[in-house]
Symmetry: C2
Subunit: 142 residues, 2 copies
């Protein structure tokens, strides 16, 4: 999660919402990404989506059954379903997101019978540091 936080800081530097994600495979980080929405004009450019794409390209697969994803914020519904499609083994996230999250909030993506893969989920990892970064970002925006 510390590496995901470093990625989140990179997002902050380019005025993107500071969310970072890394994917680990066999003890090694094989993909790391931060939100890249504004400058590339891509509303789907969330850290998780970008990290999943990178990991899949690296392993030449569409399924990441042996991979673990760490992300600083509870994934939104788009990213949560992408995690399901990619069959990621475990999902660890930092801050909870009552307004935009899709795991423990809103549509609770993994709680439906039509969700064909549910990772093992660990919420609130390094929660304070992950949340503080986001609060800092949005406070500066006001």
């Amino acid at each position: 999660m510390k590496m995901a936080l470093i990625e989140a800081h990179k997002a902050m530097e380019t005025d993107e919402v500071p969310v970072g994600a890394v994917i680990v495979h066999e003890g090694k980080i094989i993909a790391s990404a931060h939100n890249q929405v504004k400058s590339p004009h891509n509303p789907t450019g969330h850290a998780e989506i970008l990290a999943i794409k990178e990991a899949c390209q690296k392993l030449k697969t569409t399924h990441l059954m042996d991979c673990d994803l760490y992300v600083t914020l509870e994934p939104c519904p788009m990213c949560a379903h992408a995690i399901s499609l990619a069959k990621i083994r475990t999902l660890s996230f930092g801050a909870y997101d009552p307004k935009g999250g899709g795991v423990d909030h809103g549509p609770k993506i993994f709680d439906h019978s039509t969700c064909h893969h549910r990772p093992e989920i660990f919420g609130g990892i390094e929660e304070k540091a992950c949340a503080a970064l986001l609060q800092d970002f949005f406070q500066k925006k006001r």
Copy 2:
């Protein structure tokens, strides 16, 4: 929707699930895409995601408020939330998808108070042709 069906046929030719999408802005198609998951090793390579990226890059924006999306299959939860993030004006889809859809089925992405943009939705457009293409594809797979 006829143009989206032509895109879906292209997916079929490369052994991808035959789903196609187009985005219309001011009466013109500005983006068209079909599922591209297998060969680029990208589990997020659904027609809608690819079309949204293309349209945003073309208009140099992350918001498609004046755009209408046509897709041959009810969007999955990932794509439905991407449509919400992109603030697309209207969503027209062909076949309903009780097993994997995220609009009228499963997590019903647009029905939550945490969903900040809900497009106008028209389901079942050219439903028979869209569904027949998918049935044909999956029958050949058996």
